[in-house]
């Protein structure tokens, strides 16, 4: 037996088996012992962790996994809830460097993996952030892990204004000193209380980024953000105070699938385009390509100073139109932002004047005494025939408020908004007060809007839609004005001056197929004065009351587009006279119209000239109608008194010489009051 045992013991197979069993036993024993030690020193570990993270943390259980891994279970801040800043992770796995422990006898973490962490942040505590940064600086060389991996994390930010932002990492996020910060398939979900979700859509925003810190800054290798409405891709680098970024933004994210290889997308796109062409939808495809908000060549340069951030330049082309934007943001003492932009930035200033899509934009805003005031000036050219006329639009808003609406809208309000429009030879100014507006992004490119404000003692309501097509923005809107003081608003109605009255109007604007505005205007209980035709009538008939015409209702329907401006269904209801008619004005300044005037007999009898004419009237005739045809140049219209029974009777009794003399006198009067030069 002994002989057998000795032989057996010295056999290599037995030796290795025994060695392996002993080693396993040693490891098991060491693990059990180490786990016992760790769990006994759990309070010390909790203290150390609390100090490192800046919040009080508790760990339910700790476990050592051979050979270099420590796993913490249910790590959470004290009383973790959604009500205060806190942290919870079901499992945190930390690896330490076994090699360093053996050779250098130093204990340092090499990597940290956090599984499904949940972080609640309520407001940003500057002191806590400073504390964490200081610890990170102190432990750069030792204690802290150099690689951090977050697996399926969730961060809830509760901001001061009550809005809520949720950041959810579906996959893995890495922090590596060599590779930098990299988040793969990271997803940001923006809850609907937040403002930015109105612009970007309600559902989750996919995000992928890769950032590598450098000696003097960092390199942003890639940043991609995508949701159903927008796709953004940026790359660039930060060197000392200069941040240079290049990239693209597109409102057609379907074309730029983040996870799809580029070549695949191109091939698919071309095949579908080809199919559409065969189906006779080529035009639709081409139109589709040019639509939307697309910038493919963004190149911008920011510079950070101690007291301000400057946008040195941002070059981009918006569907073929090149732009350059400059600006700056000054945070103190009064936070102020301003920027200027211009199209065709590389063209010579003289050449730019002849480009129809020349735009010059300047905007600034400042927070003053808890309110934000802003102004915007846009200079552009309006094409009329072959000529380009300079135009200018100025908006000056005070006490601007931007807030999220009840559904998906963004609400924008102004205490007052001064709107000025300068044409080459005339200008309009409207002061709107208590402006409320809301904008709702559409599924396709563009947005719906609603605007309400007080103006000229009345109010204006407008709703409409705008589509982003940079070549020619498409829009349609309905406007409703009610209760406006006609005397204040009369400068908006060319050709008429009202000294009193209450104005109601309904307008429709549309850009497709041609820009057009149409609507109806009604003024009740007003007074019309300084109208060319009435002045002439007053002078000719020697009835001064006609120069200022009090009316119960003044109504007209109008249509204005590039081909003509037409006023039809004109109707003035007044006690002494009634007026009906229609009037067309063409871009050539030629007019065409009909006016029918009805005079009451009592009014005619007031005029010494018409008193004799009244004798021609039969007893039952209580009024006389004069029908006129208008034509010729707008500033010097031609008049013709159209045939009627009254005219016929008058011609019968008037001698030819008197007809001629009357004709000459009337012509002299008309010529004297016309604007002909």
């Amino acid at each position: 037996m002994d002989v057998f045992s000795k032989k057996f013991l010295f056999k290599p197979r037995f030796f290795w088996s025994a060695f392996f069993a002993a080693a396993v036993l040693a490891v098991v024993l060491f693990t059990v012992y180490f786990n016992f030690l760790l769990n006994n020193s759990l309070p010390v570990l909790e203290k150390k962790l609390s100090y490192l993270c800046g919040i009080e943390l508790s760990v339910e259980k700790v476990k050592f996994v051979p050979f270099n891994r420590i796993v913490l279970y249910r790590v959470s801040s004290a009383e973790f809830s959604a009500q205060k800043t806190g942290f919870f992770a079901p499992r945190v796995s930390a690896c330490y460097s076994f090699k360093k422990l053996l050779s250098e006898k130093t204990f340092s973490f090499s990597s940290l993996e956090i599984f499904a962490p949940e972080l609640v942040v309520r407001g940003f505590d500057r002191e806590k952030i400073k504390h964490i940064v200081r610890i990170a600086e102190d432990n750069k060389s030792g204690g802290l892990p150099v690689k951090i991996k977050v697996n399926q994390g969730l961060v809830n930010f509760f901001l001061k204004d009550g809005s809520f932002l949720r950041l959810q990492i579906d996959g893995l996020a890495f922090f590596d000193p060599v590779k930098g910060l990299e988040a793969r398939t990271g997803i940001i979900w923006d809850k609907n209380e937040n403002l930015s979700s109105r612009f970007l859509g309600k559902e989750r925003l996919q995000c992928r980024f890769s950032l590598v810190p450098g000696r003097n800054g960092a390199e942003l290798k890639n940043l991609e953000i995508e949701n159903r409405n927008v796709y953004l891709k940026l790359w660039g680098d930060l060197e000392k105070t200069d941040l240079k970024l290049k990239g693209m933004v597109s409102s057609r994210p379907g074309l730029w699938k983040m996870n799809e290889p580029e070549n695949d997308f191109l091939f698919k796109d071309k095949v579908s385009d080809l199919k559409a062409c065969f189906k006779g939808k080529a035009a639709q495809v081409l139109n589709g390509k040019s639509s939307g908000f697309n910038i493919y060549d963004l190149d911008c340069h920011f510079r950070f100073f101690q007291k301000k951030t400057e946008l040195v330049s941002a070059f981009f082309s918006w569907n073929g139109l090149p732009w350059r934007i400059k600006g700056e943001f000054v945070p103190a003492p009064v936070p102020r932002i301003c920027f200027s932009g211009l199209s065709y930035p590389d063209q010579h200033p003289e050449l730019r004047k002849s480009l129809p899509r020349k735009y010059d934009l300047y905007a600034e805003g400042a927070w003053e005494e808890d309110s934000f005031n802003c102004s915007l000036k846009l200079d552009f050219l309006r094409q009329t025939g072959k000529s380009l006329l300079p135009q200018s639009l100025v908006l000056d808003g005070s006490r601007v408020v931007v807030s999220p609406g009840p559904d998906k809208q963004i609400e924008l309000g102004f205490a007052s908004l001064l709107m000025e429009y300068h044409d080459c030879d005339c200008s309009y100014q409207v002061l709107a007060e208590n402006v409320l507006s809301s904008f709702e992004p559409k599924k396709t490119d563009g947005f719906d809007f609603f605007i309400y404000f007080s103006v000229y003692g009345g109010r204006l309501e407008s709703s409409g839609t705008v589509s982003w097509d940079p070549a020619q923005p498409l829009y349609s809107a309905d406007l409703k004005l009610s209760g406006l003081a006609a005397d204040s608003a009369s400068h908006l109605i060319p050709g008429f001056t009202f000294s009193s009255g209450s104005l109601q109007a309904g307008l429709k604007l549309k850009a497709d197929p041609l820009p057009q505005v149409a609507g109806e205007v009604e003024i009740r209980q007003g007074c019309l004065e300084n109208m060319q035709f009435l002045q002439w009538l007053s002078g000719f008939s020697s009835i001064p009351s006609l120069a200022e015409l009090n009316f119960s209702r003044f109504y007209f329907h109008f249509l204005a587009n590039e081909q003509k401006s037409a006023i039809d269904k004109i109707s003035i209801e007044s006690q002494p006279l009634s007026l009906t008619g229609d009037f067309d004005l063409y871009p050539s300044q030629l007019v065409s119209g009909n006016i029918s005037l009805g005079f009451s007999r009592t009014l005619l009898e007031l005029s010494p000239k018409f008193r004799k004419l009244c004798k021609l009237l039969k007893d039952e005739d209580l009024s006389v109608n004069f029908d006129f045809r208008l034509s010729g140049l707008y500033e010097a219209m031609n008049f013709k008194w159209l045939a009627s029974d009254f005219k016929h009777d008058l011609q019968k009794i008037l001698p030819g010489s008197m007809e001629k003399s009357m004709e000459k006198k009337i012509e002299a009067v008309i010529t004297s009051i016309s604007d002909r030069k």
């Binding site: 010729g632 010097a636 031609n638 008049f639 013709k640 008037l654 009357m662 004709e663 012509e667």
Partner: protein, 177 residues
């Protein structure tokens, strides 16, 4: 003999050089009258030569617009349309108050139509419509007539919705608006 002939030569040369351009200011009236008389006698070539002298040498003359118009008429009748256009264009541009202007514009309109220049024709139609403002109380149209120095009778009838231009009683252009 030869020497005496040579002595006269500079005098003749000087006279030939000086004569065409030395008409005195008072001569424009005489030239115009001669041109009108030639026009009445149906000697249009002679009439043109007098009016042409006024056009070339008497730019500030009170007869200049009429001479310009008649030169244009002559060129138009001679089918020298380019020269005619030049004359009528100068008249319509520089003498906006002239009674001849609507008729010069009518000629220009005819020439633009002949050349197929539709946009220019539209502009000219507008100019003719704008040329007169009318107020028709009892009449249906207002008539403006004029007899040119070449003895051609012009008539323009301004209706409320059209203008008709007649030359020697025949409808030359009708401009509806």
């Amino acid at each position: 003999m030869n020497l005496s002939r040579l002595c006269f030569l500079p005098v003749v040369m000087f006279s030939l050089w000086v004569m065409p351009g030395t008409a005195l200011p008072a001569d424009d009236q005489a030239l115009f009258q001669k041109g009108v008389n030639a026009g009445i006698s149906n000697q249009t070539d002679f009439a043109f030569s007098y009016f042409d002298m006024i056009v070339k040498n008497h730019r500030g003359s009170r007869y200049y617009p009429q001479a310009l118009f008649s030169s244009g008429e002559y060129f138009f009748r001679s089918r020298a349309f380019r020269d005619a256009k030049h004359m009528f264009r100068e008249l319509s541009n520089d003498y906006s108050d002239s009674e001849l202007r609507p008729f010069a514009l009518a000629y220009l309109l005819r020439l633009a139509k002949q050349e197929g220049k539709r946009l220019e024709a539209k502009e000219l139609e507008k100019e003719i419509v704008k040329a007169r403002q009318v107020c028709l109380v009892f009449k249906d149209f207002k008539e403006y007539s004029f007899t040119s120095p070449l003895n051609i009778i012009y008539k323009a009838q301004f209706f409320i919705d059209k203008v008709e231009v007649y030359i020697n009683g025949r409808l030359f252009e009708e401009i509806p608006f």
